[in-house]
């Protein structure tokens, strides 16, 4: 295998970790929102922490191997699609961290309620279904898919 093939393989493997891990976090979040008991919501939200290392490896790997490939494949320094992808990468990471903090608040409240009789409250339901928290998570997903579109389309290259 050539250096380019190695770099492409590692870049795409990282992308699978990034997107696959985000899909896993999204599924667990949706299941936590739909759970009836706070203890179930807390367990599902806690499991998101188990997939975070996969996402972090993907986030770091896509950037490192992506920039390396940029140099290796001699793409122009002014390639707009790469700069837009880098901006979307930063936006996606920022939105993901905002969504993660929101899920942490919901998890802590769900754990408190689980320890105190395991009955759901309006406050927990409102926190889990908060439109701002949901919108942030969906926007992070949209930004991630937009990066994928740019990577496959490569407009202008």
């Amino acid at each position: 295998m050539s250096t380019t093939q190695w770099l492409l393989m590692l870049h795409i493997a990282a992308a699978f970790c990034f997107v696959g891990g985000s899909v896993a976090a999204g599924i667990l979040n949706v299941l936590a929102i739909r759970a009836e008991r706070p203890s179930d919501s807390a367990t599902l939200l806690r499991l998101i922490q188990r997939v975070l290392p996969v996402i972090f490896v993907g986030v770091a790997g896509t950037l490192v191997f992506g920039i390396w490939l940029w140099h290796e494949l001699h793409f122009s320094i002014g390639a707009a699609w790469i700069w837009i992808a880098l901006a979307l990468w930063a936006v996606s990471g920022w939105l993901g961290s905002v969504g993660g903090r929101h899920q942490e608040r919901a998890r802590k409240l769900a754990e408190q309620l689980a320890a105190a009789g395991d009955a759901s409250t309006e406050e927990l339901r409102a926190l889990l279904r908060d439109p701002k928290g949901t919108a942030v998570s969906y926007l992070a997903g949209v930004a991630t898919i937009a990066i994928l579109v740019l990577m496959i389309w490569r407009p202008g290259s």
């Binding site: 295998m1 093939q5 190695w6 492409l8 393989m9 870049h11 795409i12 493997a13 992308a15 699978f16 997107v19 696959g20 891990g21 985000s22 899909v23 896993a24 999204g26 599924i27 667990l28 299941l31 367990t43 599902l44 499991l47 188990r50 997939v51 996969v54 898919i145 994928l148 579109v149 496959i152 389309w153 407009p155």
Partner: protein, 136 residues
């Protein structure tokens, strides 16, 4: 401009998106089965089935467009070898998770976790082979 790229772009984009969704769903099933969440695991594995069909359908679309139908490339063989027979592992995981949700037997849960782990490993090998174009 998007239309100009449509033939090359859409099948590959949809194939990769389907494969990433399948990877994420199987990863979730592995995590929930290890955590002992029976109902969630069944639902997640059932979601993985349409993602598998989507990925396979788009793979055939690419092969048709790119004229790869008779190709003997190693990376393509590994991709087919994992995706097509691999559905047996996925279906076995779905059936075992259904058995687990009905019976509550810990053995069923361990089998589901094992099958999900094996399938995730197979998908990873296929993804590495196809992205690195092994043997080309």
């Amino acid at each position: 401009m998007l239309l100009a790229y449509s033939r090359a772009f859409w099948p590959l984009f949809l194939h990769v998106l389907g494969a990433m969704t399948l990877f994420g769903a199987v990863l979730t099933a592995l995590v929930t089965s290890l955590a002992g969440l029976r109902a969630a695991t069944v639902r997640i594995l059932i979601v993985a089935l349409p993602a598998w069909a989507w990925t396979l359908g788009c793979a055939y679309w690419i092969e048709h467009d790119e004229g790869l139908g008779s190709s003997k490339a190693t990376w393509l063989g590994i991709g087919h070898g994992v995706l097509e027979p691999g559905v047996v592992v996925l279906l076995a995981a779905v059936l075992c998770s259904w058995w687990w949700s009905r019976s509550g037997k810990p053995l069923a849960g361990r089998i589901v976790a094992g099958l999900s782990g094996v399938y995730l490993l197979l998908l990873t090998v296929a993804m590495l082979a196809m992205s690195g174009k092994w043997g080309s």
